[in-house]
Amino acid sequence: MNLIYPPTLIPTIKYKHLLLDTNVFRDAANNISTYTTFFNDLKSNGVTLTTIDLVKFELLKGSTNTAKYQATEKHIDDITNKTTLPINPRNCELAYDLIKLYGIDGSAMHITDLFLGTILMQYGENIYLMTRDTSDFLQRIFNLRFVINATHAKGIFTYGIYQYTK
């Protein structure tokens, strides 16, 4: 597997936070070498890899035993250096705003994506989101700043790097 991204990606997000969606952690468990290199390049350039508790819940729920729960927890911590952004009352207020902005397009939106969106709104130009769930982040609301293609044996995954700058 290869990750293909524009050379301006890392200089643009240098010293900023990159919020990771559930699918990024899942893909990283399946393609160790590719993602280790990518994450380490980001970390070496001062990018803070982070997530929210709702993403952690999605990854941890359904673990069949303590060892697997702990392994998943370690997987998340190794990537994020235990940096989780808190969800606070401000995010709940922003969630209502976001629901209004989405209108009918929000009908199928997952709660986790809703809160990832509120984090982008809260921290504006200081944070970006990396997600493969590109249909839930509407470009009339969020700016699609970069596209990362991940080529693999059976096709191509596409990640969006989104920001909220309104």
Binding site: A29, D78, R90, Y123
Partner: protein, 54 residues
């Protein structure tokens, strides 16, 4: 509110990461299998219910 930053930015050790990821993959596979079986069971229930109403 300021964005929190980690106290120490530790790079990922590929060997350790791979060793741990094996367990993570197993866990994800178990969950996917469980969810697939659950979905099939639900579909089967729905289709048998629809027959009962014919």
């Amino acid at each position: 509110m300021a964005l929190p930053r980690p106290k120490n930015i530790k790079l990922i050790n590929e060997k350790e990461f791979e060793k741990n990821a094996k367990k993570v993959r197993e866990s994800f596979e178990e969950k996917e299998k469980y969810l697939l079986e659950r979905r099939l069971r639900n579909e089967l229930n729905l289709s048998s219910n629809s027959y009962s109403h014919d």
